[in-house]
């Protein structure tokens, strides 16, 4: 239990997907222009992570490892992610048209979001770690906690950046730096702030 909580907190702050491993950067920069849509994308990413990571965990531990098919993991993971995104999209469309209308454009894009694939690949590394290591993933519960923590960390990062960018509209930024350039530098400064969490231990 303690291990799970530690894993959860670490994946939000210390191992934040954006600031420590740069996962899902493309959509992070493209969709962070206003808080509302970025919140939608953040929730969608968290949701898809929560479903794909446990499935990929089970596949890795119970199918790929016993059969020594490790080299197939890239193809298998991306197929699982693409399929699950498709299913989630159909479910959301059927049962909550309003959520679908707000997430609609992002859902298909999540299939090629590096955050999802990256989390699966990092999990693959963490399964092999010593169980005493605070980063290790030892069971399906750990995989779930890692997914939830990573998703929330990503959500936090994108909403924070969107808030800053909304305010920055009114600033007088040098012309060539406007838009993308200053966004990168802002994210860099945010990453520096997040480095303060690196000593965090539970």
């Amino acid at each position: 239990m303690e291990h799970m909580i530690s894993l959860f907190v670490r994946s939000i702050f210390t191992d934040n997907m954006i600031f420590a491993t740069f996962l899902g950067m493309c959509s992070y920069l493209a969709v962070s222009k206003n808080v509302k849509t970025s919140l939608g994308l953040g929730v969608a990413v968290t949701f898809v992570l929560l479903i794909t990571l446990p499935v990929n965990y089970l596949l890795q531990v119970h199918v790929l490892d016993p059969m020594n098919l490790g080299y197939l993991s890239f193809i298998l993971f991306i197929a699982v992610i693409a399929a699950i995104v498709q299913i989630v999209e159909m479910f959301v469309e059927k049962f909550s048209p309003s959520l679908y209308a707000s997430l609609g454009i992002f859902l298909p894009l999540i299939a090629v979001n590096c955050a999802i694939m990256g989390a699966s690949l990092f999990m693959q590394q963490r399964i092999l770690m010593d169980p005493a290591d605070p980063k290790a993933i030892t069971g399906i519960g750990d995989a779930l906690m890692y997914a939830l923590g990573s998703g929330i960390g990503w959500l936090l990062a994108i909403v924070a950046l969107a808030g800053i960018r909304e305010k920055m509209e009114y600033n007088d930024v040098p012309k060539p730096l406007q838009g993308l350039g200053i966004t990168f530098i802002t994210v860099g400064l945010m990453a520096m702030a997040f480095m303060c969490f690196s000593g965090l231990n539970i």
Partner: protein
């Protein structure tokens, strides 16, 4: 001899249509593998090879792929190529493959690939697609090399593993120089890419919005 369109397919991505600094594609790996020059070079070469080959394959198949499942087909082609490259790296350059860790696998979801396959290979012939792939790969590589050059030189005082700043300059050996520890942190990668974009836009006025 070479048509304008073919030339543009190769030259465009190198500068005014650069995948990283103009189209903002493939940022994740561009930031993560640039602590040192060697992994950055290998990553650039790997992406160039994969994007060129995937472009050719998809372009050759473009008339037979059903529109509805084209994303899955593209993903499978790319995933197969990435698996091959990852295996080759593990066999012949194990230390680089460890340094790149998951980012080799993440080439599958690198937006440059999906972007080029969707936007170019699905509607152009194999030869043009090959050049477009090579152009985009090199466009990606030179940004990586610039960022990695600065980070390795200032962060570790070496280039490609060879020492550039002499040992005797360091404070530990009685000198006055010290490595900039920030340079090896993720935060500086972001700021450096921001500066590259700044310089690029200052030089290409038409990019300024």
């Amino acid at each position: 001899m070479i048509s304008e369109k073919t030339r543009e397919a190769f030259m465009g991505p190198l500068n005014k249509n650069n995948p990283v600094v103009v189209q903002i594609l493939g940022i994740c790996s561009a930031l993560a593998v640039t602590v040192q020059l060697k992994p950055a070079l290998v990553m650039g070469i790997a992406v160039t090879i994969i994007v060129a080959l995937a472009n050719v394959v998809i372009s050759a198949l473009r008339n037979t792929i059903p529109g509805r499942i084209r994303i899955i087909v593209q993903l499978v082609v790319v995933a197969a190529l990435v698996t091959l490259v990852s295996g080759i790296l593990k066999a012949f350059a194990y230390d680089v493959s460890v340094a790149l860790s998951v980012y080799i696998g993440l080439i599958i979801t690198n937006c440059i690939l999906m972007g080029r396959l969707e936007a170019y290979a699905m509607s152009n012939g194999p030869l043009d697609s090959l050049l477009d792939g090579l152009g985009n790969g090199f466009g990606y590589m030179w940004i990586l090399v610039v960022v990695a050059f600065v980070r390795e030189l200032l962060g570790s005082g070496s280039l490609l593993g060879f020492r550039i700043i002499p040992e005797s300059w360091y404070v530990a050996n009685g000198g006055v120089y010290e490595n900039c520890g920030m340079m090896v942190m993720p935060a500086m990668a972001l700021i450096l890419v921001g500066c590259v974009i700044w310089a690029h836009r200052a030089l290409n006025k038409e990019e300024i919005k």
